[in-house]
C-alpha cells in the first residue's frame, strides 16, 4: 500500500490552493477527476501516489479560514454548490496543517524556521515524501546575482527582516546585481520600496523546501528558482525542482496554435492579446510591477515557438466583476502563399483556479515520483505544465505531453 505524500503549499489560503485542497476532497467523495492529467490511462502503470494519499499543508500570511475561502469559491461558481458541507472534515484536517509565515531577524533564520514548519508537517503526518509547491501571489521581477552558494549564505545571514516582512514584501532588485557581492549592507533594503532582503520571498520558500528535504515546484512566474544559486542549493541537497508559471489559459492555447503556424510554414506578422481577469490574482496583477513577471513569462512561449520576436502587445487588465473567471482574446495576423493576409482570433473563457488545481495535484504526484526515483536538479519533463519551462526550450504542447509520458513510463 502507498505511504502518504505531503503537499506543502506556499500561498495555502489562495484560490488555487483552496481549490486544490477542496478538489482532492471532492474526488475522495466520488467527483470525476476532470482535468487531472495523471489519471489518464497513459499514467496508470507508473506507481503514482493515489490522490487520496496526498496530505496538504502550507504557509500563508493570511489567516482567513479555509472554509471561508471555500464558501467564497462556491459563491463564485468555481466550486459546486453544497461542496462546503460535504468536505468539512477534510478542510478541518488541512486547516490544522496551515501555518502563518514565521518571524525572524534575518532571512537565514527565516529559511530555517520555514524549513522547520515543513519538517514538523512531515513528522506529524508520517509522510514518505514532501513536495512543496509555490502558489503564492506573483511577485515583481527581481535581479539576484550571487556568484555561488557561499556568497548567498553570507547575504542571507546579513539581511535583516522586518517583522512579518518576508510574507508581505514584494521585493525587486534583491542582492547585488551580477556583482557577486553581498546585498548593500545596512541599507535596510535593495528593492523598490527599500526591501533589504538578499532574496525575494519565493526564493526563500524554495530554499526552505530544500532544507526540509522537499522537492520544489513553482506554479508562479516569481523569482524563486530562477537564480542559478537557488538551483545549486537544490542540487547540493540532492533534490528536484521544476516550474515555472503554470499554463492554464491564453498561453495554453498559444502553445498549440503557434506550432500549427510553424508546422505549416505560415509567417506570423503580429500576435496581440488582451486578458481580462478578476479575483485575487487579478488584483495582484493590477500592479504593473507584478504584471511584468507574468508578461515576461508569457512572451517566452511565442518567441521560442515562432522562432523570433513577433510584434503585438499582451494586456493584462483587472476587471473586478469577472471574479475568478478569465477572458482572453487573441488576434493573430499571418500570411499564406504569396503574402495573402489572414487572421485567426480566439476567445477563451475559463475559470483559472479550476484549471490550475488539478495540475497542482499532477505536479505533486509527479514530483513525488521524481523524489522516489532519486531525480536531482531540474525537471524539464514537466514543461507540459508551464509557460516558462525550466531548462527546456520545447513549448509545443503535444511534444511536451509526449515527453512527459515518456519520462513517466521510462522506468
Amino acid at each position: 500500500m502507498h505511504r502518504r505524500v505531503g503537499v506543502w503549499l506556499f500561498g495555502a489560503r489562495g484560490s488555487v490552493a483552496t481549490t486544490t485542497v477542496a478538489g482532492a476532497a471532492a474526488l475522495a467523495h466520488g467527483a470525476p477527476p476532470a482535468g487531472v492529467v495523471t489519471e489518464q490511462p497513459a499514467f496508470a502503470g507508473a506507481g503514482l501516489t493515489p490522490i487520496d494519499r496526498l496530505v496538504f499543508g502550507g504557509h500563508d500570511p493570511s489567516e482567513t479560514p479555509l472554509s471561508k475561502q471555500v464558501e467564497r469559491l462556491v459563491a463564485g461558481g468555481v466550486l459546486p454548490p453544497g461542496l462546503d458541507g460535504l468536505i468539512a472534515a477534510e478542510l478541518a484536517e488541512t486547516e490544522r496543517n496551515l501555518v502563518v509565515l514565521p518571524v525572524a531577524d534575518t532571512q537565514d533564520e527565516l529559511v530555517r524556521r520555514m524549513a522547520e514548519d515543513i519538517r514538523a508537517f512531515r513528522l506529524r503526518n508520517d509522510l514518505e515524501h514532501v513536495v512543496a509547491i509555490n502558489v503564492a501571489s506573483t511577485e515583481p521581477p527581481a535581479n539576484v546575482g550571487y556568484a555561488n552558494l557561499a556568497e548567498l549564505r553570507e547575504a542571507l545571514k546579513a539581511s535583516r527582516v522586518r517583522s512579518g516582512q518576508a510574507s508581505r514584501e514584494v521585493s525587486g532588485q534583491a542582492g547585488p546585481q551580477g556583482s557577486g557581492g553581498a546585498g548593500p549592507e545596512g541599507s535596510g533594503g535593495a528593492g523598490p520600496e527599500g526591501s533589504g532582503g538578499a532574496l525575494p520571498a519565493s526564493s526563500l520558500a524554495a530554499l526552505a523546501a530544500f532544507e526540509a528535504g522537499a522537492a520544489y515546484v513553482d506554479f508562479t512566474p516569481s523569482t524563486s528558482i530562477r537564480p542559478q544559486v537557488v538551483r545549486d542549493w537544490a542540487v547540493e541537497r540532492g533534490l528536484p525542482y521544476g516550474g515555472q508559471d503554470a499554463k492554464t489559459g491564453e498561453t495554453l492555447v498559444k502553445s498549440v496554435l503557434a506550432p500549427m503556424f510553424t508546422a505549416r510554414a505560415l509567417p506570423v506578422h503580429a500576435w496581440s492579446g488582451t486578458n481580462l481577469l478578476g479575483g485575487g490574482d487579478g488584483a495582484t496583477l493590477a500592479d504593473p510591477r507584478a504584471a511584468e513577471s507574468k508578461s515576461v513569462s508569457k512572451e517566452r512561449v511565442l518567441t521560442e515557438l515562432l522562432g523570433g520576436e513577433v510584434p503585438g502587445e499582451v494586456h493584462i487588465d483587472y476587471v473586478d466583476p469577472l471574479g475568478d473567471w478569465k477572458t482572453a482574446w487573441d488576434h493573430v495576423m499571418f500570411s499564406g502563399f504569396l503574402g495573402v493576409r489572414m487572421t485567426l482570433q480566439f476567445t477563451w473563457q475559463g475559470c483559472d483556479s479550476a484549471l490550475a488545481a488539478p495540475l497542482v495535484l499532477d505536479l505533486a504526484r509527479l514530483s513525488a515520483l521524481a523524489l522516489e526515483r532519486g531525480h536531482v536538479g531540474a525537471m524539464p519533463f514537466l514543461g507540459f505544465y508551464f509557460k516558462d519551462p525550466i531548462e527546456s526550450t520545447e513549448h509545443a504542447l503535444t511534444r511536451q505531453y509526449d515527453e512527459l509520458v515518456r519520462w513517466v513510463q521510462e522506468c
Copy 2:
C-alpha cells in the same frame, strides 16, 4: 541535376489548381515560399525535387483560359496585383498541357483515354515521374461495393458513358452496394440523376493515374481511393496513393485544439462550427449532397481526436460575396475540475486557395519522393495534410508533422 517531375491536376482550371500553377511561377520569380512546408530546413537533405523542376498539366471539363482564372484570382485578392503580367510565359506553357476530359463509350475506355493523356504529358515534357493530384469539385458520397478487381473491371466495361458525362456528372451510389456484383447493366444509371457509372469520376481519375504509372493524391473528400478495389488497383500497379481532403482551415485548427483538451484531460461537451465560404468550392458545397462528403470527412477528426462522438453541428454556408475567402467560427464547450463549464471560441478568416496551393506543391514533391523510393500503397505519413488521412488514425497535427519529418529523413 534533378530531372523534371510532372504534376497532373484533375480540376486543372479551378482555384486551387490555378493558384498552384501561378504560385510556382511566382516562386521562380523570387516570391518567398510562405506556406510551403517542404521548404523548411527539416526537409532540406532529402533530395526533394526543386519547385522549379515541377511541370504542370491536367484535365478539366471547363475551357476557361488559365490566364482568365489568374485575373479573377488577382481581382479577388488571392494572387498579388500584377502577377498576371509577370508569369504570362509560364501560364502559356502550362496551358499547352491542359486537356478537356476525353469522350468515351464506357468507363473502361474513359480510363484508358485519360491515362493516355497523362502518358502523352510525360513523354512530351520528358518527365522522370508523374504525380496526379485531384483538385476537382467535390462529389457527393457514393457507395462502391466491388469484391475484387475482376468484378470492377467487368463493371467498367459494362458501364456506358453519355457524351461528356464523366466530366460533369456528380454520381452517387455507383456500382452494386456491398453486393459484390457488377453495376446494374443497361440501367442507364445508378446515381441520383441516373448516372450509370460503375465508379464516380474521382475514382476513374485515380485509375487513370495508376494506368499511366503515376502516384495519386486526393486533395478532396470525394470517393476516389476510398473503395478497397481502387487501392488494390494501385498496389497491383506498384504505385503509392494518399489523401484525403486537405486540411487548411477550421479542421486544421481543430487538429491542434482537440489534442489540447485531450492532453489536459478536459472533457469536451459540445463542439459547434459554422463555415461561411464563397467561390467555386462554396457554390459546389451549397449542394447538400456535395456538402455531405465534406462534413463526413470533417467529423472524423473530432471523433477520433476526442475519443468519441461529441454533440454539435457543423454548418457549411455558401456566402457568395466572400469570394475565395472562408470564415469559420467554432464554439467549444468544455469543463474543468469539478465540472465547471468553460468555453473556447475561434474565428478563422482564411483564403482557401492560398492555403491549399503550397500544400499541393508539397504533396507533389513528397509523392515524387515516394515514387523514387519505390513506396507502394497508402502513404499514411502524409496525414499531416489531410482531414481524413488514409490508413491512419492519428489526427494531432504536431504528431503528424513529426511523423512526416521522420519519413522524409529516414533514408
Copy 3:
C-alpha cells in the same frame, strides 16, 4: 391604492413563466429590478401597477410543481442560490392559481372552458384587470384562412378535440387555407399531420383570453394573433392585443446594429448567424417545424431594417449542455466607400429566461395600462419588445423605445 392585476400565463410552468413568478417574488424581497424597463424614471409618472400588485396564474399541460422548476433554474444558474427557500410562500400562492388545460369535445367548448378558468382566477383573487401572456412552447407555423368571425365560430363548433389534445398538439395547417370554409369535418383532431383543429392552441388561448375580458400578449412566434379573424375577435370584445416573439438575444442586437449600417449608408452584403441553445425552448426548436416559426420571425427584422433581403443563413442548433444559456454568433459582411469589404462579428452569451422574465413583467404592466386607458386592438407601441411587432414596421430599437415612452407619457 392600486388594485391588483392578474397575469395569466399560458405555459405557466415553463422556464420563462417560472423565472417571472420567482423574480417578482424576489423583487418583493428586495432584489434590484435589473432588466425591468418600466422601473426606469421615464415610466414613473404613468400610474403603472406596482410589481407587488401583480398576481400570477396560468395554464400548462405539465404538472411539475413550480417549486421543482425553481430548483432546476437555481441549479442551472438562472436564479440565484437560496432563492427557492426565500420565496416558498409566494410560489405556493401562485401554484394554487395554476390549472391544467381543460378537456372538451370541440375547440369551441375548449375556449369556453379556458375562459372560465381565467374568470375564476379573476374572481378568486379580486383582480381589477387580467392580462394573458402566451409563454408556451413555440408551435410550427399554421395557415388559418377564415373570412370572418362567423366562419371561424362555425369551424370551432365543428372541430372535435381528442382528450387532452389541445394542450399537447403542435398543429400545422389548421383550418381551410384561404378558402373561408370550415376545417375538415369529423377529422377527429389536429395533429402535426392531418390536423383537424380549426385553430392551433395559441390562437385558442388568445380567444379564451378575449372571452374572459383579458388583454392578450404573445411572447412567442406561434400563430396566435396572426390571423385577422383572431384580431377581429379582440376588437369585437373591445380588448387590446400585442406581440410577437420577444426579442431578447441575437435579434435584440440586430435591431440596433442594422440601423447603424442603414444610417451610415453602408451596404450590407451578407448577414449570417448561428444560435446555440439548450433548455426546454432549445429542445422544442430542435424540431425543424417549430424552428421555422422562429426563423421567419427572426428574418423580418433584418429585411425590414435593411430595406431588402440580405443573403445569409440563420441556424438554430440545440446544444443540450448549454442548459438555459444561449450563445449567438453573427457575422456581417458590409462595404464602405468605393466597395472596400469589412466585417463585424458579435458573440452574445445570454441567459434567455433571465432576459425574458422582466419583459413579461413590463408587458403585464403596460397592457394593464392599455386596458385602463380603454385601448382597443393592436398595441404597436409595444414593438420595442418584439422581433415581429404586430401592426408595425419599425424595428430600430431606439426608435421603438422612444415610441413606447411617448405612449406611456401621453396621457
Copy 4:
C-alpha cells in the same frame, strides 16, 4: 445651377484626405456613393451641393505628391485597383490647390498667412463657400486658458514661432492654464515640454479658417475648437463650427450598443476594448500622449450613454502590418434579472479611411448648408458623426441621425 464649394483640408496629404479627394473623383466616374449619408433620400430635398461641385485644397507639412499617396492606398486595398490611372486629372487639379504650411515669426502672423492661403484658394477657384475640415494628425491634449478674445490676441502676437514649427510641433500645455495670462514670453516656441505657443496647431487652423470666412469642422480629437475663446472667435466672425473626432469604428458600434443596454435596463458592469491599427494614424497614436486625446474622446461616449463611469480599459495598439485596417474587440459584461451575468463581445474589422472619407464629404456639404442658412456657432446637429459631439450630450446614434435629418429638412 449650384455654384462651387471649397473644401479646405488641414492634413491634405494624409490617408483620410487622400481617400476623400480620390473618392469624390471616383464618384464623378460613376462609383456608387456607398457610405455617403447625405446621398440618402432623406437628404434629397435640402439643396445640398452636389459632390461634383466640391473643390479640394489644403495645408500639409508633408510634400509627398497626392498621386503617390493614392498609389499607396491602392496597394493597401483602401482604394480599388486601377483608380490611380482613372482619376489622374482630378488629382492633378487638387494638387495645384495644396500648400505647405507657411512660415511666420509669431502665431498671429501664422494665422494670417494661413488665412491668406485659404482666401487665395477661394478666389482662384471662384467658390461660393469654403468649409475647412481638420484631418491632420492627432495632437496630444493641451490646456488653453485665455479669459477672452483680447487676451488670446495678445498671446498670439507675443508667441514666437520657429521656422516651420507650427506644422510639425505637437504642442501640449499651450498658454497660461486657467490663469488668463499670456503664454510665457520669449520662450521661443511650443514643444511637448515647455511649449511656448499660445495655441496648438489645430486651434491656429480653426482661427485661420474663421479669418478666411470659412466654416470649420474638426474630424480629430485635437484641441482645436475645445477652448471657449476659439469658439468665441467663430461667433465674432459669424461662422459655424463643428466636431469632434469622427466615429467610424469601435465607438460607432458602442453608440448603438450602449443605448440597447440602457433601454433594456440591463446594468453594464465592465466594458473593455482593444483597438489594433496600423497606418499613419496608428503610428501617431503609438505615442501615448497623442493616444490620450483619442482615449478621452472615446470614453465620453460610454460614460454619457450608460449614465456613469463603467470599469474597463480601452487599449490602442499600433500593429504596423495592419496597414490602414483597424480591428477592435470589445467585451461587455452585463447582468440581467436577479443579477445573472452575461456577455456581449464584438470584433470590428474596418478600413478606417474608407469609413472616414464619405463622412468628410457629408460634413463639407452639411457645413456649406449651414453657411448658406447663416448658422452661427456650434453645430450640435452634426453629433451623428462624432465621438465627442460639440455642445451636445446625445450619443445614441439613431437619435443623432433623426436630429440631423430634422435639421436638414427643417427649412
